[in-house]
Each structure stands twice: as structure tokens, then as C-alpha cells.
Amino acid sequence: MSWETVIGLEVHVQLATKSKMFCRCRVTFGEPPNTHVCPVCLGLPGALPVPNGEAVRLGARAALALGCTIHPTSVFARKNYFYPDLPKGYQISQYDRPLATKGGVQFVSAERGPLRVSITRLHLEEDAGKSLHDRYPGKTAVDLNRAGTPLAEIVSGPDLRSPAEARAYLTTLKQILVYSGISDCSMEKGSLRVDANLSIRRPGDTALGTKTEVKNMNSFANVERALTAEYQRQAAALERGETIEQTTLLFDAASGAVRPMRTKEESHDYRYFPDPDLPPLVLDPARIEALRDTLPEMPEAKRQRLVSVYGISDADAEVLAAEQALADYFEAVATAGADPQKSANWIRTDVKAAYNDTGAFAVEPERLAGLIGLVEQGTVSLQAAKRIFAELLEIPEEPLVVAKRLRLVQVGDPDALETWVDEVLAAFPKEVARYREGETKLLGFFIGQVMKR
């Protein structure tokens, strides 16, 4: 008997601001502990929060990029719980009146084809600090540099049906957020974190099974691995006739297994209530519309346009649209006159490899277009062009110049050759005379001069 998997994801994304959500401390990574703290993010007596307008703007931008409805009025609320890296004993978040609701992410599922996964809500909140449990024996060490970092929490509906779909959703979500300049979405730096809820049920059942929460995944690949492990754990338990307990599990990347967190004493009762320190967050509709106008083309729209405008293949368009920079570069090369499909071939291979290494495009779109043109005209072979490209990455020369220097020009045009020979003979009359007098070793010199043309 088979099981249907139901997955929903909660993604916390760090908003790319300079200062923290409610204080003017710098947002940093990897600095000495507790060096970027102030009365507000230390939770000192008498300190008060003041929201960062740029964090609100980025949160609203994310909401628009995800097709959400932004609420003209939303409310900051306190989520109360005790934890040593939570300085105030509560997290400022949003609860019953979030910034935005009802959006969606479209992507192509390997199993189910084109899919739209709903975004239930997007709200703003502050991050907690960092607790290190293994640095001092018997102690937890707390660093509050991170406390107060602005986050958007993006909650999907329980619409995903496999660990692979969860990964595909995350990949698309990240593309959208990076495209929109909202976050660098780096899981290594903790600027994107994923908590996954998973339950299983018999196909055809409408009620949801008991869900568990899986945390502590440090890459999209590990999200997929963790969810696969949890699916197998739940399926095995149910097949043994056991019931699933609603619990939180941690993924261990080394073993690939999930293990339940040591059971908490209390079920959570966060006692949310509106934060009396913060009046309602009101966004004028005109401001929201203005923000919408500044959104770039989203990856899916771009993919479709690359196919329809440039006539490149779906697969190529997908690769190019996945990264805004790559797509922009492609369009520049095509605009410089290169054949679009040939440009796409070049960019998804050699260019992308070089870009992934260096993070930059060393060969300007015009030079690549020139090189593609040389191949097209038959001036150089494709194989030669690859060598020339490697050279172009290093030095700022024109493709033809490099081709000649490396003697890679193949002359498929007899008329041209004739012209060049005539030109060389006309340019070096003395050498011609000496050759005619029997100095045959000058032949190499003449060939060299022709090659240079």
C-alpha cells in the first residue's frame, strides 16, 4: 500500500538591510560575539523598538514578488517564550494581522508538471541571537549580534506532495527572492532557513495525518534528504500499526537520519498579543503600487519570454532564467548580434562555468558575440573558439586578434586568401626580390605575414 506525502514549508528569509529590524545596530556575520549590540537588541530595561522602514519595504517587495495581497494595516505582536538567546523574553513578530497573505509560487514538478503552491502568509519579525551549546562544558554561550536581524517568514500551504517537490519549490522561491533583491538567501550564512512540516496519508484521504516538524537542514538537498527520511520513518511506524506523535525532529546531515528533539516539558503557549510599543504598520495603497512597479521580471515570466522572443529551447531558457545575471548577459550577447541559440549554448556551458568560478563576466557581451560570429562565418572552428574564449577570459583583446595570434584562423575563402597574399607581396617588395634571388627561407616570413591579416 502506498502513502501520499503532504508537506508545507516555513521559510525564514533574512531581509538585506544594513541595520537591524528594531534598532540601529549593523547586521553582521562572523563578528566577535556581542560586539553589535545596543540597549534595544540586548533587551535592556527601558529600551524600545523602532521599525526599520527598509525592512518593511523589502518584506512588502517579497510579498508582491510572491503574488501576495499586502494588507494596508498589519500589526506587530509579541510571541512570548523563554530562551537564553531571546533577549526580551518575547519575539516581535506578526500574528493575526500579518503583512501579507494569499500568494503563490509556480514551478514545474517532476512528478506532477506545472504547479502552483500557495503562500498562506508572509510576515515580518526579528531574529533571535545565537546559542552555542558545545563550546563550554555544561554551558550554553549566547551571542546577540544576530538578535534583531530582520526576517520575513514565508509560510506555504500543505500543497507539496514529495521531498523533490519541496526542493523544487525552494529553488524557485530562492530565485524569486534573489531576483527581487530581497535577500541573498544563503543557507550557509543562515540568511535562509527552512522548517518543514510533513504528514502522510492514504491516497484519496481528505483529512490530513498527524504532522511532524523537521528542522536543522543546511541545504536544499538536505531538505529533500531529511523529508525522505521522515517520510520513511512515518510510513514504517504506521505500517507497524503505531501512531504518529506531533513532534519536532532534527536532521543530522552526517547520518542522513532525523531524530526527535528531547521532548519539551510544555506544549507551546506563546500568548501572542499586539505589541503595545508599536502602533499599527500602515502602508498606503499608492506606496504599495509604486513598489510593485519597481519589481523586476520574475524568473518564470523571463523563461517564457526568452523562449518566445529569442526562440531558444525551454531547457536553455530555464537554465538562463534561473539566474538573473545569466539571463541579462544572454540578452546582451543576443542584442550584440549573436545567434540566440548559439549564444545560449555558449552561456550555459563555458560562460556559466567561468561565471560560477569568478562571480563575474570577464568577456563582455560584444566580444562573445564577436567570437560566436567568427565561428558562424567559418573563420574559426568551434573547437578553436573554445581555446580563444579561454584566452579572452584572461586578456582584453578582440577575438579575431587572438585567433590570428594563436594561428587559429581557418581560411575557407580562397578570394580572401588571394587578397591577403597580394597585400603581403605588395607590402614587402625587398623581401620579394630577395626570395626571387633564391633566399627560399623567407617563405615562412610571408606565411606569417598572411596569417596576421
Partner: protein
């Protein structure tokens, strides 16, 4: 008792407050007395439509994204109960202990 001793213990856990030995009954009695008293709010009909009320500004004023941390007149070390290498230290969280 409106607020039973079990409820007091549950609430005390949420609030992370120790109830001093021998005072549980008294705490339950005081809390019940206060809850009985505030329950007269139930006399006010719910039906009346009233806008929710908040003193102060109608909307929050947003701050520019400038880095300009409020300075500390004396360092964290001056008031922290326990620190090492710049970290605040606390007993290791039970949930994080190895099984």
C-alpha cells in the same frame, strides 16, 4: 477556587516563576479573588460595535535604514552575571544535553 492550584503551577511554568514553598494555596486564592473581580467585565454586552482603541499615534513611524547604534555608556561585562570570551553564559539548556 476559580484558579486551581494546578492552573497556578501551569501558569507559573509559562512565566518561569517559582512559587515559594507553602504559598501555592494563597497564590491560588489571590488569583481567584482577582479573576472573580475582573469578571464583572462580562456584564458589558459584547454586541456593541466599537472601534478598537489605542492611545498614541495611529500608525507607526518607520526609521531610515541607517547604521547608528546607540552607544553603551559602560560595557556589557559591567552588568552581565556570567561571560566568557564575549559570550553570555548560562547553564546548558536541558533540551540540548546529549541523551
Amino acid at each position: 477556587m476559580k484558579v486551581t492550584t494546578e492552573e497556578v503551577l501551569h501558569i507559573a511554568k509559562l512565566a518561569e516563576i517559582e512559587i515559594p514553598e507553602g504559598t501555592l494555596e494563597a497564590v491560588s486564592r489571590d488569583m481567584s479573588r482577582i479573576c472573580d473581580y475582573v469578571e464583572q467585565l462580562g456584564e458589558v454586552p459584547d454586541a456593541e460595535s466599537v472601534e478598537s482603541f489605542r492611545a498614541g499615534p495611529d500608525r507607526v513611524a518607520l526609521r531610515d535604514d541607517h547604521v547608528d547604534p546607540s552607544p553603551l555608556a559602560h560595557p556589557v561585562e559591567d552588568f552581565a552575571p556570567e561571560m566568557a570570551d564575549g559570550f553570555f553564559l548560562v547553564p546548558r539548556l536541558e533540551a540540548m544535553e546529549e541523551e
